[in-house]
């Protein structure tokens, strides 16, 4: 298993006014699997992938990535896990607006520890594969929403992470563009043998995934 969680719990607030967001969530994911996480707002989807992404620590339970238990107390270790083992695709692409597309990728890739030479060829191959070579020298604000999400996908894949986490990657796109991005994401994850977990509200998007999990009130239900 590439990712496993056991009895994951998360709550916010004090003992008097405790709001439970995750309640005893236990899940296993294998490499190359694509999974859609569905559910209404406030059901705990984003909290769950934030914990998987080492951005948030759980109140109880364990998370194991590649067989190693994540120690949430060590902020430095968490940053290293995010840098090396996880690729993120956010709702609003979140590209750095002051760098052009190529520099966005190069800057992130260098931080992930990829050598300049390897990084250049990796960027070229991703730009070609995602059909965004023409954006190379453009700033993110000069690209369309769909194009920006493609660049975000390229950024997430740069360092060949075993885990890809996407938070409503199609929310800001029309259906046509959204579908293209999801197809791309799923296709790339399968070919690179990465686990892909995508949070979505859209049941049409969920159809592209191998596995669909529904969340409600902090619990996970498999259909």
């Amino acid at each position: 298993m590439i990712l496993r969680c056991e009895n994951l719990t998360k709550y916010f607030g004090t003992a008097q006014s405790r709001q439970v967001v995750l309640e005893s969530v236990s899940l296993d994911f294998r490499a190359g699997e694509t999974c859609a996480l569905l559910g209404p707002s406030g059901s705990g989807k984003t909290t769950l992938i934030s914990i998987f992404g080492c951005l948030l620590s759980p109140c109880g339970g364990t998370v194991t990535i590649n067989g190693k238990m994540v120690k949430y107390r060590s902020k430095g270790r968490l940053a290293t896990i995010r840098r090396r083992q996880i690729g993120f695709v956010f709702q609003q692409s979140q590209l750095l607006p002051f760098l052009n597309v190529y520099d966005n990728l190069f800057f992130t890739g260098r931080n992930a520890g990829i050598s300049s030479c390897e990084l250049r060829s990796r960027i070229e191959s991703l730009l070609e594969r995602l059909g965004i070579q023409h954006l190379r020298t453009k700033r993110p604000n000069a690209a369309s929403g769909g194009e920006r999400q493609r660049v975000a996908v390229a950024r997430a894949l740069l360092h060949r992470p075993p885990i890809l986490l996407a938070d409503e990657p199609t929310a800001a796109l029309d259906w046509e563009n959204g579908r293209n991005v999801v197809e791309l994401l799923v296709g790339v994850a399968r070919s690179e043998q990465s686990l892909l977990i995508t949070v979505t509200h859209d049941p049409r998007v969920a159809n592209f995934f191998d596995r669909r999990l529904t969340m409600d009130s902090g619990r996970v239900f498999a259909p």
């Binding site: 902020k75 940053a79 750095l96 002051f98 929310a171």
Partner: protein, 374 residues
């Protein structure tokens, strides 16, 4: 990292331009205040430093060159008799009134030179320093020709009611006070000044004989000359500077203004960097989320503050050099020493880095999980 930090700064060129303009102006303000202070220090001690002697024997508790107290000229002979002294002469210095032909009077600082003309003007435009020994002769500086009413050599004026003739014009021999220097001979200075007797001088100047230990000779002079203080040229120059800069409060005012300039510069950098960091808070959060270490992001802020400090320093230095060039030869010249400028630069850069701490703090408290909140 450097390229990203610069790109972030350049992302809003208008703000960068305004910030740099503001910072450069504040650096110039501070540099001008300090430059004025250095210029004043050089001016108040110029005559002491340019005299080219090793020792000044002064009356006890003399506060500055400009406020001397008479010494009996027997001290000159006493100084000459000390082992290790090669040469000694007297010099006169006191305030007097200069009267122009149109009846206007102006206060002047009269300097009476002994036979070797030591302590006289170090740069002459017209005539020679030794002209002070001609009958009724005086030398004035070209910077004060207007206030003194002098247009050329050979003109006659009154000094404390005595007729004097301008026999030379010096160059760049300024005073810190509004009263110009008027050089004459020691004999004439004493004749003009009723407060001085014929056997009195203001200071005794001396030079060491080569091969003798200056410290030992100075100590011998201090032991053997009664009712007088023995100071090296540096000590007397420093005492004069301290009197004018501290006792009169002039130096303090300049220093306070310079510090205020630096403080305002720090606030400007602080605000700019903080605004920049807040504007890019989501970008920083994204970088944190995708695995950038906080230290690297703090590095971005520090690079930005260093770049702002360096660019504003370069612009400020060019402008200061230009302004200093314009004031050269004026009554208030802006001058600078390498050491003082290095200190000013270090403070400027230090303030800019210190100003980035607010931004650093905001990065330290940034939560990367915000990127998942839409």
């Amino acid at each position: 990292m450097f390229a990203a930090a610069i790109s972030m700064l350049l992302h809003n060129p208008l703000r960068l331009f305004v910030t740099l303009a503001g910072l450069s102006c504040l650096f110039i303000l501070s540099a001008c205040q300090v430059g004025m202070l250095v210029g004043w220090c050089n001016t108040v001690s110029a005559l002491v430093r340019h005299a080219g002697v090793d020792i000044w024997v002064v009356s006890p508790k003399t506060v500055a060159f400009d406020y001397g107290v008479p010494l009996p000229d027997i001290r000159i002979h006493q100084v000459r008799s000390v082992v290790g002294v090669e040469w000694a002469e007297g010099i006169y210095m006191d305030w007097s009134m200069w009267q122009r032909p149109d009846g206007k009077r102006i206060s002047v600082e009269v300097v009476g030179l002994d036979d070797s003309s030591v302590g006289g003007p170090w740069q002459m435009r017209d005539g020679s320093v030794d002209n002070v020994h001609l009958p009724d002769a005086v030398i004035v500086d070209q910077a004060y020709l207007g206030p003194l009413g002098v247009s050329q050599v050979g003109e006659e004026f009154e000094l404390s009611g005595y007729r004097v003739i301008v026999r030379g014009i010096s160059e760049d021999v300024r005073t810190f006070t509004a009263s110009p220097f008027v050089f004459t001979s020691l004999q004439q200075a004493r004749r003009i000044d009723a407060r001085y007797r014929d056997d009195e001088v203001t200071y005794v100047l001396a030079r060491y004989k080569s091969g003798f230990d200056p410290i030992v000779v100075k100590q011998s002079l201090a032991d053997e000359i009664p009712n007088a203080e023995v100071l090296t040229t540096d000590e007397f120059a420093q005492r004069t500077i301290l009197y004018w800069m501290i006792e009169t409060g002039v130096g303090l005012t300049a220093v306070i203004t310079a510090i205020l300039g630096m403080a305002v510069a720090a606030v400007v950098v602080s605000q700019t960097l903080y605004t920049l960091t807040q504007e890019h808070a989501r970008d920083y959060a994204t970088m944190l989320a995708i695995g950038f270490a906080r230290l690297k992001l703090i590095g971005v802020v520090l690079i930005q503050s260093l770049v702002l400090a360096t660019l504003s320093w370069i612009l400020g230095t060019v402008a200061f050099a230009y302004v200093a060039g314009l004031t050269k030869g004026s009554a208030i010249p802006l001058e600078m020493t390498l050491g003082v400028y290095a200190l000013l630069t270090a403070i400027h850069i230090g303030c800019c880095i210190l100003a980035s701490m607010l931004s650093v703090r905001s990065i330290l408290t940034l939560d990367p999980a915000v990127v998942f909140r839409g």
